[in-house]
C-alpha cells in the first residue's frame, strides 16, 4: 500500500521532466523519423506523400565509409576517454575535500569558454606554423614536414579533449561512492595495486563506466564541427553529411533519414546497456 502510494508520488514528481522530454525530445525525434519518409521538394521544403527513396539513398556506397569512420572514431574516443578518466576519477575521489573541489573545477572550467573557440584554439595549436608543430619539430619529435592538422589524428585528439569531462564526471560520481577500504581488502588478500584496481575498483564503478561510455559515445557520434575544423576532406563524420544535406543541398528528408539512422546507432548501445544493467540488478537481488 505505502509502496504503491510512494510510487505514484514519484511519478507525480517526475511528471514535469517527463513532459519536458516528451515535448522537446520525443516529439522532435518522431518528426525527424516521419520526415525521413517524405519526398523533398525543389524549394528545400517537404513535399506531400510518402516515399522509401531517402531510406534507399542511405545504402549509397559513399555513406558506408563515412558511417564506418563515424563508428570507429566514436568508439576510439570512448575507449580513450574511459582509459584517461578512470585513473583521474580514482585520484579525484581519493584526495582531500579542498583539492578535490579544485580538481573538479579544473575539469569543468573549459566549459566556461565557447566550444567553437576551443576547437579553433586546437586548430591554431596544430597548424603547421603553430606552436605545437614548431615545438615538436625543434625537439626532433616530429619530421620537418610534419602536418598535425587535417587528418583523422587531430579529429580523434580533439574529440577526446572535448568529451573527456563527460567521462570524468559520471566516473567521479561513482568513484566518490566507492568504498576505498575494499582496495585495502584486495591488497590484504594478495592483489598488487594494479590488480586491486582492475579487479575491485573497476567493477565497483561499473555503473559510472556505463554512463560515461554512453555519454561519450552518443556525443561523439553526432559531432560534425570537429572533423570539419581540424580534419581533412576525407575525415567527414556522419554529422557532417547531415549538415551538408540540410544546409547545402537543402534536402531535409534525406538529412532526416541520415539523422534517424544515427539516432538508431546511438539508441542501440543505450538500450543494450540499460537491459544489461537491469539484468545485472535482478541477478544481484535474486
Amino acid at each position: 500500500m505505502t509502496a504503491d502510494h510512494q510510487r505514484s508520488k514519484q511519478w507525480l514528481l517526475t511528471l514535469p521532466s517527463l513532459a519536458w522530454l516528451g515535448v522537446f525530445f520525443v516529439i522532435p525525434c518522431v518528426l525527424v523519423v516521419i520526415t525521413a519518409f517524405r519526398p523533398a521538394d525543389l524549394q528545400g521544403g517537404i513535399a506531400e506523400g510518402w516515399t522509401w527513396d531517402n531510406i534507399h539513398m542511405l545504402s549509397d556506397p559513399s555513406y558506408v565509409p563515412v558511417l564506418l569512420r563515424t563508428l570507429w572514431l566514436s568508439v576510439a574516443t570512448t575507449l580513450l576517454c574511459l582509459a584517461l578518466a578512470l585513473p583521474m576519477a580514482f585520484q579525484i575521489a581519493r584526495v582531500g575535500p579542498r583539492l578535490r573541489q579544485f580538481l573538479l573545477l579544473l575539469v569543468v572550467i573549459p566549459f566556461l569558454s565557447n566550444f567553437l573557440i576551443r576547437v579553433f584554439a586546437w586548430k591554431s595549436l596544430l597548424h603547421p606554423e603553430g606552436p605545437l608543430t614548431k615545438l615538436l619539430i625543434s625537439l626532433r619529435l616530429a619530421p620537418e614536414d610534419a602536418i598535425l592538422l587535417n587528418n583523422s589524428g587531430p579529429v580523434l585528439l580533439v574529440l577526446v579533449y572535448t568529451q573527456l569531462p563527460f567521462a570524468i564526471l559520471p566516473l567521479y560520481a561513482a568513484a566518490e561512492k566507492f568504498d576505498f577500504g575494499l582496495l585495502d581488502a584486495a591488497r590484504d588478500l594478495g592483489a598488487g595495486p594494479w590488480r586491486a584496481f582492475s579487479k575491485v575498483f573497476v567493477p565497483g564503478v561499473r555503473r559510472g563506466l556505463i554512463s560515461a561510455a554512453i555519454m561519450v559515445l552518443v556525443c561523439s557520434l553526432g559531432q560534425y564541427v570537429i572533423p570539419q575544423m581540424v580534419g581533412g576532406a576525407s575525415d567527414e563524420m556522419l554529422g557532417s553529411k547531415i549538415a551538408q544535406r540540410a544546409f547545402a543541398d537543402r534536402n531535409l528528408p534525406l538529412a532526416s533519414a541520415l539523422a534517424a539512422a544515427l539516432m538508431l546507432a546511438a539508441l542501440v548501445p543505450m538500450l543494450l546497456a540499460a537491459a544489461w544493467q537491469r539484468f545485472g540488478r535482478k541477478e544481484a537481488a535474486s
Binding site: D179, G181, L182, D184, A185, A186, R187, D188, L189, G190, A191, G192, R195, K199, V200, P203, G204, R206, A284, A285
Partner: protein, 369 residues
C-alpha cells in the same frame, strides 16, 4: 614463550601526533591476543602496521622470525578481517572467499576445495551463491573470516570483529570466534575497545593507552592485579584511595592511613616503604555491605558509611556509599544478604568490609599524576 609475532620497538607518528610510541610486544604461535584500548590509543594503527597498510617510522615487525616490516600487504603472511568486513559487493560469497587464492594463482581444484571447506567451517555453504548485500551482519562477518582464513595466514588480524553486530549476535559470534580459533589454531590478533570482548576472546591482552602499552597479561591477571589505575578503570570498575603507609607488618602486609576513611590493612606487593604515599584499588564486588558491624578480626577491614543511592541490575545491585569525602561503589549479589534482611535503603548506615588480599597497591609513579 616462543616469539612468533614480534613487534620490536615500533613507533609511528602522523604529523605531530604520536600514534604508536615505542611499542614492543611478543605473541606466541596459536595464541589469541587482543590489543585493547580506548579509541585513539594506537591499537588500530598498530594493526594496520602488522597488515602492511602503514609503514612504521622506526622498529621492526617479525612473523615466524622473518622481518616483514618492508613488505607490501599483498606479500605478507597475514590476513585481516576488517571492521566493516569490506566484502566485495560485486562478487558472490563463494567468489569473495576465492579471491585470495585466485590472486595467488592456485590451481583450480585447490581453490574449489579450499573455498568449499572454508564455507563449511563457517557454516555458509548454502549461501555460497548469494551476494554480500543479501546476508545478515553475522553472516557477512563469517564470510570475512572465511575469506581471510582460506589463505592459511600465519597471523589473522581482526579489527573490532564484533562492533557492528547487535548484542545477541555479538554473544553468539564470541563463542563462534573461539570455536574457529580452536579449530584452525592460527594466531589471532584482535583489536577492540570492548574489555568484555577482549576478556572472553583472548589468552592475553595488551592494554594500550596514548600509543603505549600499559600492561600485557592474561585477562584474569589484568583484572585482579592491574598495574596502573588506567588498566584498573579500563577493565572493570574500581574504587581508588590515596593514602600513606603507616605500619609495615609481617608477610608483606601494610597498614595504610586513608584520610576520612580509616586505616585498612592491605597486601603491599613488596614495593612499599613506610611513610610512602600510595594508591589503593578495590573492585566494587570485593566489598560487602552489612547492617551490623562484622565481627572484628586481624584480617578484616570494616568502615562505616551511609548508602547514598543504589541501582538494581538483576544479577547484582550497585550501591554508592558515602564515607566522609569518599564515595565508594559496592556491588552485591542478593544472595549475599544472609539473615533475610531487606536491601539497605537510601540513608541507611552500613558497614563496608573487604579482605586485605582484595585491595591492590597500584604502580607508585601513578600516584604522582
Amino acid at each position: 614463550m616462543d616469539d612468533f609475532l614480534v613487534i620490536d620497538r615500533v613507533s609511528k607518528s602522523f604529523g605531530s601526533l604520536c600514534a604508536v610510541d615505542d611499542v614492543t610486544l611478543s605473541v606466541a604461535q596459536g595464541e589469541a591476543f587482543s590489543l585493547l584500548g580506548p579509541s585513539g590509543c594506537g591499537k588500530t594503527t598498530l594493526l594496520r602496521m602488522i597488515a602492511g597498510f602503514e609503514r612504521p617510522d622506526s622498529g621492526r615487525i617479525l612473523v615466524g622470525g622473518r622481518d616483514i616490516t618492508a613488505l607490501p600487504p599483498e606479500q605478507r603472511p597475514v590476513n585481516t578481517v576488517f571492521q566493516n568486513y569490506a566484502l566485495f559487493p560485486h562478487l558472490s560469497v563463494w567468489e569473495n572467499v576465492a579471491f585470495g587464492l585466485r590472486m595467488s594463482r592456485r590451481p583450480r581444484e585447490e581453490i574449489r576445495g579450499g573455498v568449499d571447506r572454508m564455507l563449511e567451517l563457517v557454516r555458509l555453504a548454502e549461501h555460497a551463491r548469494k551476494r554480500p548485500a543479501q546476508l545478515s551482519g553475522g553472516q557477512k562477518q563469517r564470510v570475512a573470516i572465511a575469506r581471510a582464513l582460506v589463505n592459511r595466514p600465519l597471523v589473522l588480524l581482526l579489527d573490532e570483529p564484533l562492533a557492528a553486530l547487535d548484542l545477541k549476535l555479538r554473544q553468539h559470534m564470541l563463542v563462534e570466534l573461539n570455536t574457529i580459533h580452536e579449530q584452525v589454531g592460527t594466531t589471532f590478533i584482535y583489536v577492540t575497545h570492548d574489555q568484555g570482548e577482549a576478556m572472553s576472546l583472548s589468552d592475553r591482552i595488551a592494554v594500550m593507552n596514548a600509543g603505549k602499552v600499559e600492561q600485557v597479561d592474561s585477562p584474569e591477571r589484568l583484572y585482579e592485579t592491574p598495574r596502573s589505575s588506567f588498566v584498573a578503570t579500563f577493565i572493570g570498575d574500581a574504587n581508588f584511595f590515596t593514602g600513606t603507609a603507616v605500619e609495615l607488618q609481617h608477610e608483606g602486609y601494610v597498614r595504610v592511613m586513608v584520610e576520612g576513611l580509616g586505616s585498612p590493612l592491605v597486601l603491599g606487593n613488596g614495593v612499599v616503604s613506610s611513610n610512602q604515599t600510595l594508591k589503593l584499588m578495590v573492585r566494587p564486588e570485593k566489598i560487602s555491605l552489612t547492617l551490623q558491624r562484622p565481627p572484628s578480626g586481624e584480617r578484616v577491614n570494616a568502615f562505616r558509611g551511609i548508602v547514598e543511592d543504589f541501582a538494581y541490575f538483576g544479577p547484582h545491585t550497585r550501591y554508592r556509599v558515602r564515607a566522609g569525602e569518599h564515595l565508594i561503589i559496592a556491588q552485591l549479589q542478593r544472595s549475599r544478604f544472609s539473615g533475610g534482611e531487606i536491601d539497605p535503603a537510601r540513608g541507611t548506615e552500613v558497614w563496608m568490609t573487604f579482605h586485605p588480599d582484595e585491595a591492590r597497591v597500584l604502580k607508585l609513579e601513578d600516584v604522582v599524576s
